[in-house]
Amino acid sequence: EAGVTQFPSHSVIEKGQTVTLRCDPISGHDNLYWYRRVMGKEIKFLLHFVKESKQDESGMPNNRFLAERTGGTYSTLKVQPAELEDSGVYFCASSHGRGHGYGYTFGSGTRLTVV
């Protein structure tokens, strides 16, 4: 089966611009997660979708970040306007169920650089 696909793999934008990251989970995975790693620090949770519904968005840093999951398939994460501190690697993960035994499958990440 295809894995979790994220694109673009890299994005360099100027401060104040808008960027949209996309994640295609494994087909049939209802649970989709976004995580972010900023400047070599810990990977931090952003939010969790179950199908098209936001289950937990407690990790979203501020209202410049907007995540959507239309139809419960792929997800987008928009940053508008981007700030320098948004630079980092954004990971997406999906899982079939919500139990810990299912485990997550992570994508390769999108490296965002805001200059």
Binding site: K41, E42, I43, H48, S95, H100, Y104, F106, G107
Partner: protein, 113 residues
């Protein structure tokens, strides 16, 4: 809230030597523990996990980790490393009914010939 501390940010090691990556966690409730690995230019891959039962868990490529509740640790070990084990390793924790992961800062393992 739970947190994870990986005590070593960089671990250089010679091929065929043993390696231990240390991970300590803090949590007021029961935890589930994970080790993920990120090879260069790839995504995070689950290496092994502790959910319940035996406190010693093993991966298919020779790594093992032991859950020590009294010391709140989940150290990762491999008795003999290969060049291909060069990667960044992340310890993570989650708790019952909360499926998000809390990660440590990562440990970069560099295996030299």
């Amino acid at each position: 809230a739970q947190s994870v501390t990986q005590l070593d940010s960089q671990v250089p090691v010679f091929e065929e030597a043993p390696v231990e990556l240390r991970c300590n966690y803090s949590s007021s409730v029961s935890v589930y523990l994970f080790w993920y690995v990120q090879y260069p230019n790839q995504g995070l891959q689950l290496l092994l996990k502790y959910l319940s039962g035996s406190t010693l868990v093993e991966s298919i490529n020779g790594f093992e980790a032991e859950f020590n509740k009294s010391q709140t640790s989940f150290h990762l070990r491999k008795p003999s490393v290969h060049i291909s084990d060069t990667a960044e390793y992340f310890c993570a924790v989650s708790v019952t009914n909360d499926y998000k992961l809390s990660f440590g800062a990562g440990t970069t393992v560099t295996v030299r010939a």
